[in-house]
Amino acid sequence: MSLTVLLIDSEENRARALEEKLSESGFARVVRAEGPDLAAAVERAKPDLVIIDMALPDRDALEDIRAVSAASPVVMFAGTDDPAFAQEAIAAGVCSYNLSGVALQDVRPIMASAIALFKRYHHVETELAAAKALLNERRLIERAKAILMKDRKMTEPEAYRWLQKKAMNESRKLAQVVADFVADDESQQRERKP
């Protein structure tokens, strides 16, 4: 049995890893595609299964039942019989469409591989996002201080205390207060020079 899988994933490393895994294990032949015209890609590749990163807007294009598959309706594999498995896929951020009515037992190992890979990347991404958030928070505090020092002629310690006090008064995190403060200032800047 050789299934054709159309893989739509903008994360290059993850896509390559899944492609290798599926070919090595002999589960499936992988064809890669990217938006915007996924209906055409489906027509060309005639896949049994489409696997797509849920972070992409292109999922909606695959939902167009008539455009994608005239013969058989698109069935979202995840969830046709096993909600727990589907939930695991959604939590990992990956979803699949079964286009040719392949038996579930043949699809399952393929999706299991995809879920495992997406989970691993998700973990790495979360750590990366947390690190970025911390950096960004520091950058925003500097930016907010600079605005206050320029517009309200505050000293640096005064500016910092002002922000801390604002956070305390509004009982919100300093990071949130600072992010909104800077965003509002930026949008005001834009208003001034259309």
């Binding site: 999922r59 995840a78 960004n136 965003a183």
Partner: protein
């Protein structure tokens, strides 16, 4: 960034996870969150930005979201299990009217306008004439098969005898990709919610030739749908959520608040696009708007049963649903009773009937409501049809 930090903050109140797309008419949920309207009602809301309608549908169906700002046809598709497992939903309030554009590539739009002016015919008829004259097959983008855009565009095309599938090819293109698809020639136009038509116009790739209003002058657009299960388990929070949204709707509808709302929505964590593109379709945001959302005036937040029935009849017309008991399904999902129970005591005017005749008014009119009447605008369809769903019943 703030989302990550927000996760760590201590939680109080009833948790409500609300999915939304990067669209101008997500405004009321964003305002309700940012101004603390949800919090004041004892609701701990999480706003979750999703990149696709498919994600909204799956996450509602599998319980990753409790609620969403949704296009009503998709809510019915989820309820009926048309695209995966089914999930029972309730719609206790509507979010917006209008706000979509029909946008054509600049070259085609100019041709259509020229014919329309020369022969003094309506835009869809001019488009039909264009298609007969030329031989290129026209492909138009919609945002999802089960979207208001699909139904409105088909309705509009049909008035000029154009049928999707036969005369025009409809394909799904995510609005964020529409400009790219217009420029590459993959599509000759699209129908999508604001701000995407405006964004296409600003890049010069397209021109808005019509809006929701040109199809139906009071076209319901987004609704607030919740998992029925969540609604049953959290009756007090459900009412609080409706009140918070009603309050936010009044803010979003006030012309003097347009620039504030536009700036708020333009933030990276919400729409992440130029605030001027958002502003152009907000009430009061443009001097001569060619497309405008409504959030409050004209009983916008009321979940009209007649809207539900219209959507279901149109879905049946285009073969998107099979045999269903339209009235029963409409009554099960569109919950006027929950709206009334939620806003009781707010002192706002509430319609007495669950349904109204749609399309019968060419001018301003007054709707029977309690304690006082509600001022309504015109609601005609482009083909002059009047839609009388069911006998109009008075509730009190």
């Amino acid at each position: 960034m703030s989302e990550i930090i927000a996760l760590k903050s201590p939680r109080s109140g009833t948790r409500l996870r609300i999915g939304f797309l990067r669209l101008t008419d997500s405004a009321p949920v964003i305002v309700a969150q940012e101004f603390g309207y949800f919090a004041e009602e004892g609701i701990d809301a999480d706003l979750v930005e999703e990149p696709s309608w498919a994600n909204i549908a799956d996450k509602l169906a599998y319980g990753f979201l409790d609620a969403a700002v949704i296009v009503p046809p998709l809510a019915f598709a989820i309820e009926l299990g048309l695209r995966g497992i089914s999930q029972k939903l309730v719609i206790p309030c509507n979010i917006s009217l209008g706000g979509n554009t029909i946008t054509l590539s600049s070259a085609l739009a100019r041709q259509v306008r020229e014919i329309s002016a020369k022969q003094a015919i309506a835009t869809p008829h001019a488009l039909a004439a264009c298609l007969k004259a030329g031989d290129r097959p026209l492909s138009l983008g919609i945002v999802h098969a089960y979207s208001t855009h699909n139904l409105l565009l088909r309705y509009w095309l049909a008035t000029a005898g154009l049928e999707a599938g036969r005369d025009v090819r409809l394909s799904v293109v995510p609005p964020a990709r529409a400009v790219e698809a217009l420029q590459s020639g993959q599509i000759g136009g699209f129908c999508a919610g604001a701000p995407w038509g405006e964004i296409a116009a600003r890049t010069g790739a397209g021109i808005n030739v019509a809006s929701s209003d040109d199809v139906w002058r009071a076209a319901p657009e987004k609704a607030f749908a919740l998992r029925a299960h969540w609604a049953e388990e959290n009756p007090a929070a459900l009412k609080g959520a409706v009140r918070a949204l009603v309050r936010a709707a009044q803010f979003c509808d006030a012309p003097e608040n347009a620039s504030y709302t536009g700036a708020l929505l333009s933030r990276q964590k919400y729409l992440g696009v130029d605030s001027h593109a958002i502003l152009s379709s907000l009430p009061g945001g443009a001097i001569a708007p060619d497309n405008q959302s409504r959030f409050w005036r004209g009983a916008t937040t009321f979940p009209w049963r007649s809207h539900a029935v219209w959507f279901l009849r149109q879905m049946a017309r285009w073969d998107l649903i099979g045999d269903v008991d339209t009235e029963a399904l409409a009554a099960r999902v569109y919950r006027c009773d929950l709206y009334r129970a939620s806003v009781a005591g707010l002192g706002i005017n509430v319609p007495r009937a669950d349904s109204k005749s749609e399309g019968a008014h060419r001018t301003d009119w007054e709707l029977d409501a309690a304690p006082g009447p509600i001022a309504m605008g015109p609601d005609e369809f482009c083909d002059g049809a009047v839609f009388e769903p069911v006998s109009v019943q008075v509730n009190f």
